[in-house]
Amino acid sequence: MSAPSPWHHYLPRLGLYLGIGALLLAVSVGLPHVLNAYLIQILVLAACNIVLAVGLNLINGVAGQFSIGHAGFMALGAYVTAWLSVTYGKRWLGAFDGQAVEPVLVAAYLVVLMPIGGLTAALGGLLVGLPSLRLRGDYLAIATLGFGEIIRVLLLNLEAVGGATGLRGIPQCSSLFLVLGAAVVAVAVMRNLGGSVHGRSLLAIREDETAAEALGIDCAHAKTSAFVIGAFFAGVAGCLYAHYTQFIHPRSFDFMKSIELVLIVVLGGGSLRNVVLAAIAITLLPEGLRLVKDMAHLSFDPRMVIYSALLIAVMLIRRERVLQAVAPRRKGGESAA
């Protein structure tokens, strides 16, 4: 008979994917019946944060490159796709308004749009990744901060996307199913990447770049690709976010958002599972605080005080094991970069 077809290899895996897909579909159809719109919205935001955080985790946690401008990538993805939707997509989708195929079309439209947002952000990631070849540690952090701020200032002044008034009227194409699906895909990609040659190269770079280079790892390529992949997911998350909230403003992607993501990654301590948990916790935190604020009649948003105090506390408690990195012991100790 013939040789065993490759299908025997792929079938179980295909079954797994279909199973996960069916489960997601069931959850996203069922949940809106159980939870109210407010809780669903929190769920969507949490899923967006998961996509963002696992991407940043690849850059900061796995590769050890310190980026504090991740919201800039999200902004790129959000603005490009939102602009496309407002100028072209809305009219096109409107033609099918009320027809039976509309929900499917809307979903398909967003599935096409997500990679567009992702690729735009990835291009930004390439731009920021290139300096990472020359810059290390603190300097790289500052450069990424600068990148995020430049994006924000440009958006504030770009009248075509609303400038300082923000961009409104984005069609609501995101659904719970797509957002949860994106989160699952992002986590799965990161999980598989972590165990691959590429992921291990990044880990090696984090631990000791010189040694990694000596072992034959193409550090330049690996570091840049970490930025590109991380930025891609941020762009996807930006697209999902924009098409859920229907309104975006440069303020939604400011330094505070970047810091929120850094906090998630730091709290996650390098492990993918903990990063996901931290993303959920940090999404819930402001909601919980809002309750406290309403009860105590505070006029001030205490979120940033808590974020910053948490950051400091985590650092002081964990000290040597930030992101589970083994503190590199080098000759000359502290003078090494």
Binding site: I150, E159, L311, L316, A327
Partner: protein
């Protein structure tokens, strides 16, 4: 043109006062003290309290602000940076960002986000003689700020180059371990450097408040970043570099302020928004082309 130059020099003086703290702390600790802009802010508010609540004379208010800022710098160093001295640099960096945000937001919590009026402690009327003969407007305020800044800078370079503790600071920034082996109390030197840098930033805060007439809890953010860029531009770790970088940054900023850039019909960048973005652009360019800065020594990565 000469008017712009004079405004740039006054702004550059304030930037220099902040940039020096960055550069000194980086010199001894190899740490970018992100909270430095907030030390500047606290200095401005201590000065404000001294001027308005206690009605102290300007010179005394500056000294009080310097003392307050120095104390804050000491507390930050002792509480947050010292425990992390043997930890990876990343930990200290994240902590620094955390402290910066904490101080900003505590400031907003305690003082409110609204800007407060800063009393015009020095006469802000132009000096008539210069206006008549040279055609430039120079206020007494600008002169006082410049003279005070110059005095602080001279004092600082005397401390660094002539005193025992200055010598120790230079030794620690050269090689911390070797300095320790030579019997230098490294902890003390670092604490001293922190308080000295913070004190200078505190004075800068008062000058800034008087010059612009307002103070708010987020006032440290942009001057802090710009002064940091100035320090990097001049070569971080180098004291003359910080002064040169600050002057250049102020010149670029003043030059850009009056420019309106029309990139396309829908993208018009006005000077006020461009001013902030240009600082980052300068930074990224300098980091890519000459990471050691203008006057910095190109450091080799040690393996």
């Amino acid at each position: 043109m000469s008017q712009q130059l004079i405004n740039a020099i006054s702004l550059g003086a304030v930037y220099a006062l902040i940039a020096l703290g960055y550069t000194m702390v980086y010199g001894v600790l190899r740490l970018i003290n992100f909270a430095h802009g907030e030390v500047f802010m606290v200095g401005a508010f201590v000065g404000l309290a001294a001027l308005t609540v206690f009605h102290l004379p300007f010179a005394v208010a500056v000294l009080v602000a310097m003392a307050g800022a120095a104390l804050l710098g000491l507390i930050i160093e002792r509480g947050a940076y010292r425990p992390l001295r043997s930890a990876p640099r990343l930990a200290a960096l994240i902590t620094a960002i955390g402290i910066s945000l904490l101080l900003q937001n505590l400031g907003m919590l305690v003082l409110g986000a609204a800007p407060r009026a800063y009393p015009p402690a020095i006469d802000a009327t132009p000096i008539g003689w210069l206006e008549e003969h040279a055609g430039v407007v120079v206020t007494r305020q600008q002169v006082v700020i410049l003279v005070a800044t110059a005095a602080i800078l001279v004092g600082l370079s005397l401390i660094v180059s002539r005193t025992k503790i200055g010598k120790a600071m230079r030794a620690v920034s050269e090689d911390r371990q070797a300095a320790q082996l030579m019997g230098i109390n490294v902890d003390r030197v670092i604490a001293f450097t922190f308080s000295l840098g913070s004190a200078i930033a505190g004075a800068g805060g008062v000058f800034y408040g008087v010059y612009y007439g307002t103070a708010d809890p987020l006032m440290g953010l942009m001057p802090g970043i710009k002064a940091f860029v100035a320090a990097v531009l001049g070569g971080i770790g180098s004291v003359p570099g910080a002064m040169l970088g600050a002057l250049l940054m102020a010149l670029v900023e003043t030059g850009v302020s009056s420019v309106t850039l029309r990139v396309s019909p829908s993208l018009t960048l006005t000077g006020s928004t461009l001013r902030d973005a240009v600082a980052f652009a300068v930074l990224i360019v300098i980091l890519l082309l000459r990471p050691a800065g203008l006057l910095g020594r190109p450091g080799r990565e040690k393996v």
